[in-house]
Symmetry: C2
Subunit: 669 residues, 2 copies
């Protein structure tokens, strides 16, 4: 449907009119006809098209047409003017004897205007996409995408680029979405006309818009001072400036704008924002001009996306502490053998906090034009609290956090994981689903992940979260009882679950085969050895583990339902727990499920299990379970420096991984 | 898909198990079999069904079945138990020579549990609606509805019922949605089992749940003190109590719960809330019980709905002031003749504020079980500010407001209207669309309706708002240039627009016919008379009105597009404006479009136009335009007490109307 605009025409003086190509002007002829008018006729120059409704019965279009109360003249122009007022349309009004009573003359200037974005998501700004004003998910969807500019172009004195309202380096432009204002028309706009870009108050909380003052500076990274550089890319729209005039370039013009996302989707922000460009007409001196044409584009702020264990690792992060030499040695070997990079966070930065998994979660944001990793900083804030901001934030490495009061152990990101891609009852989750641990929803007290982080995770939408029960653990993290490993068959992965029943089954079979006197922890000076017979006769340990198994089974049922898993997709690992600290559980021996997954290489806490024929029976069982999947187990001694402090390999490490090939905007929602 | 729950079974001691009818228990047989087990067999009582996967190859179900690593026993029960442990299932494990190695015995108790709501929206709570856990719009939709309990059961010392967390009168129950917990089973739950109702932290901000302690008290309105009455309807869920045990009645039991909405949909609340009921199993003494079954119901909070001029009036509200006797007389006659009730707000309450339209907007909320009017109180807060709360709030009369700083004239509700039902490009708006007035979105300064009220209006969703440009007026209200009247044809209504062009046209035609010396305001002592010749020769007035016409035309184009109107749906009324106060406009003579619509009777500001053949030409034109629609015009003299103060009949009155027949939940969204 062609947009149309009502145009007032006076018969006593010529009117200058600006017409936007593709839009129609409607003149209610009766309204301003001279008194006594009964007929009218219309003449115009070549670039002007007109029609009359209701259609005239006259055969010759030159003879006067009867004027009715509802006669409407529809005017449009098919191409831009080269000069101001280069077209003309005149209306003659006649009395009942076809005597001329008056003449209205319109001097017409045609403009082509379009505000353009990459609505088809191919990385390039196309011209006047018909769907640019709305947003639709899916491979047949449309609508542009903007990134939260949460990295920092500066490496010293750095802060996320969202926190400054000027562009200090050209390199910052690539984090923004290009928007092009294309105009075509005379060298300048008719007197008093303006182009204005504008945004709603609500949307301005989520984006800023800059523009290029002159022709672009190219790809040189310029180090300029704010005052110099800011001049080349002036701020157009922000919370302080909801509407601003933008230049009209004249002739065939293209002006680049740069849209910068300021905040991620959240409970009170669905991620959609609109930017408008209007042509303003001066109607009355001293009064605000009237928008006579508005073009609108819609963006969605790219969500923060997590990366599951099945994606290719890029970097492995661990902490160096005064006591973790043994662990570091194991990790260094594993990572080197796997061919990845090990990054060590030193003591001055970690201040003795070794739980690299807990302080942060690696993720990324993705748009057709650009993509970069973004660290989600946990509100946990122990020794490592400065690491994400001070060491990770930087050029093309973004940072986001949520501030919370009253954080608990469940706010550590060992309690925040993500599944590989799954399909559940026909619904696809090609980016997997986020997994967090909380108290039972029925518990009248208990620890939970803080609401601001939960709200953030749910609002990202593309990895719909699942809440598990992890409050049964002293530490309370889902990574204490579950992990995912890649698999060559079925759904491409297996869910690994800690299973006291599997441990008891293994130990009973060993006892049955005459190994009841084999000892756990043999040879360790920091732990009392204990025989299988002793373990199996400890009725209180058995009761505690029955409880633990029921907690894990509860989670198993949820995971099967929410991830669409069969029993064959799940592998039970022989792991025992014990109670500590008000009936909450910790691992009895190093918790093998708390592993690091680097492609086909698994770095597993060395369990120090009972030796059978010279080999640790737990390691043997673990290897036999994993080897069928083509996975290699490396057992890392984390006993003294992690296990005894209630964490393991996974808790003490973090992996930055490659993003998904799948593009989030292709999700069907 | 049947929900299933993993069940741990020990072979060395009998297990007591509660099974919910309709849900399946899955036993992983291999997991807890005695060492050396190679076969198993299963026996059970009549009310227990079981199956084995993978299916056994054995022909006789009595002979032992080979035990695999992945053998799973599926157990279900088809009806509730009468006594605890009245059913039994036993599993025998055999060695390779079919020697018995162990036996696991399950003592089974079956329960039927369902939390029920009126998910099919017929006003009655049905049993276990399969769709009760989700919400879908439309005539084929489903999902229960809850009202914000924003009326006040008490008439003295009143406040909205949402502000007290107890039920003080039985009559309050009808404002709430009934939820029924239906259970069937033994006289009491097995030792340690519990039923618990629970809600998320976020949802608890929006609802409360009470329950009936005993059998219901019936419909008697009891006047009881809080401490006495609250006991009969204890509070179950609220922000302070996210989870609470609820009684199990035993045998065939039904317990009523009452759900009370606390807040309307808004920017940060989509209106949906879920309530959960779980059966808890005691797993380990001293530890939180495990939810082994959860039923969920979903409610949507009913939106606040406005009523257009085309709905039947119920009550007409005006203010009495020291100087409005003439106006009141006119209104009294009109309202009496139309057969409605006139309610007069006296001076002690209005404190000289006569703008009844501006302080409040009448609307209603609707659910299948109940419906009542709700006044939206404007943040304008002038003399009338106490009227909505003190005079309107009461039993079955709700109250809602939004608190704003920095209110402007555009926050008065003469600037908040609603269209009759429309269809726009195939999209139905059977409840019409809300219309507000703001500054041009392109204006760098200007007045707007405050964001909190706009957010509220948009969040109601069912009458998607349209923003017009009203900042060109000194007062700034959309009711200064538009109104809707019922019509027997076309879309069932006409949009009336003030039109300076129509006024000029009328006046020029009159001048042309020799009435140039006819006078406006003739005979009024409070206004200087002016001839048509004088008006028509005032070039500055013409310029101002050209500007006004262009402002109204801008709104006309928006309304045509957003309401799907044709020119034939719009009637231009001959009204002139003039500038005052920094180039903003006021009506030159009483603004006839600012009328009160009472069915087919229109109460129109008496324009005091030029007399032609003894009759006011403006009244004659108005009558001729309206009479074709079967509407009767009554002209009310509001000149001295309203027009001169920049308002008219509509500004000075308010109409409470009947709700729509159309139910909002039947909207297709």
């Amino acid at each position: 449907m062609m947009h149309s605009r009502t145009l007032r025409v006076d018969y006593d003086k010529p009117t200058q009119v600006v017409c936007v190509v593709g839009y129609e002007l409607k003149v209610k002829l009766h309204r301003s006809a001279p008194p006594g008018s009964k007929f009218f006729s219309v003449k115009c120059t070549a670039n002007v098209q007109y029609s009359i409704s209701p259609p005239s019965q006259e055969t010759s279009h030159l003879s006067p047409i009867p004027l009715n109360g509802n006669s409407v003249l529809h005017i449009s122009m098919s191409r831009a003017s080269q000069y101001e007022n280069d077209n003309k349309l005149s209306i003659r009004y006649y009395g009942k004897n076809k005597d001329v009573l008056g003449r209205a003359v319109l001097h017409l200037t045609a403009l082509e205007i379009s505000l353009d974005v990459d609505a088809d998501r191919d990385g390039f700004v196309e011209k006047n996409n018909p769907n640019k004003g709305s947003w639709k998910w899916g491979p047949n969807g449309h609508g542009a995408i903007v990134l939260v500019n949460c990295d920092s172009e500066r490496s010293y004195g750095k802060k996320p680029d969202t926190e400054q309202d000027y562009i200090s380096r050209v390199s910052d432009l690539k984090d923004m979405s290009v928007m092009v204002l294309r105009t075509r028309g005379p060298a300048k706009l008719p007197e008093g006309y303006k182009l204005t870009m504008h945004i709603s108050q609500g949307d301005a909380e989520s984006v800023r818009v800059f523009r290029a003052r002159s022709s672009e500076v190219g790809n040189n990274v310029l180090y300029m001072l704010h005052n110099q550089f800011g001049k080349d890319y002036p701020l157009v729209l922000s919370s302080d400036s909801l509407s601003q005039e933008v230049p009209y370039l004249g002739g065939v013009g293209e002006m680049n704008f740069y849209v910068e996302g300021l905040r991620f989707p959240d409970k009170d922000f669905d991620g959609l924002i609109s930017i408008n460009l209007s042509l303003l007409e001066p109607i009355f001196t001293g009064l605000p001009e009237t928008p006579i044409f508005t073009d609108k584009v819609m963006f969605r702020v790219a969500p923060w996306i997590m990366t599951p264990n099945t994606l290719k690792p890029l970097e492995v992060f661990v902490c160096r502490t005064s006591d973790n030499h043994q662990f570091l040695k194991g990790m260094r070997n594993l990572v080197a053998r796997s061919g990845y990079q090990l990054k060590i966070c030193r003591e001055y930065m970690n201040r003795g906090d070794r739980w690299m998994q807990d302080e942060l979660e690696f993720g990324y944001i993705d748009a057709p034009h650009h993509r970069f990793p973004v660290v989600l900083d946990s509100p946990r804030d122990r020794g490592l609290k400065d690491f994400p901001y001070k060491e990770l934030l930087g050029p093309d490495f973004g940072y986001v956090t949520r501030v919370a009061k009253d954080v608990s152990g469940l706010d550590s990101f060992g309690n925040l994981e993500v599944s590989p891609p799954v399909t559940v009852n026909g619904k696809n989750y090609p980016l997997g689903r986020i997994i967090i641990g909380v108290a039972f929803p029925t518990a009248t007290k208990g620890r939970n992940m803080t609401k601001v982080v939960q709200d953030f995770l749910w609002a990202q939408k593309v990895q719909e979260p699942i809440a598990l029960f992890s409050d049964w653990l002293v530490v309370g993290h889902v990574d204490e009882f579950m992990s995912f490993v890649p698999a060559p068959d079925r759904k491409g992965f297996r869910l690994l679950l800690a299973s006291p029943d599997a441990a008891y089954k293994l130990f009973r079979d060993l006892q049955n085969d005459g190994h009841g006197q084999a000892k756990m922890f043999e040879g360790r000076r920091d732990e009392e050895p204990v025989t299988l017979d002793e373990i199996l006769s400890d009725r209180s340990l058995q009761a505690e583990n029955n409880y633990v198994q029921s907690c894990i089974d509860w989670n198993r049922d949820v995971l099967k339902r929410e991830l669409g898993l069969d029993d064959e997709d799940i592998i039970d690992l022989p792991i025992l727990f014990k109670f500590e600290d008000e009936y909450r559980a910790v691992a009895y021996y190093p918790d093998m499920v708390n592993m690091i997954v680097l492609g086909k290489n698994l770095g597993i806490p060395k369990p120090f299990g009972p030796k059978v024929n010279g080999r640790c029976a737990l390691e043997a069982e673990m290897c036999s379970l994993m080897e069928g999947l083509g996975l290699t187990c490396t057992f890392i001694d984390d006993f003294a420096s992690y296990h005894k402090l209630l964490g393991e390999v996974h808790c003490g490490s973090n992996v930055r991984r490659e993003p998904f090939d799948f593009k989030w905007w292709n999700l069907e929602m």
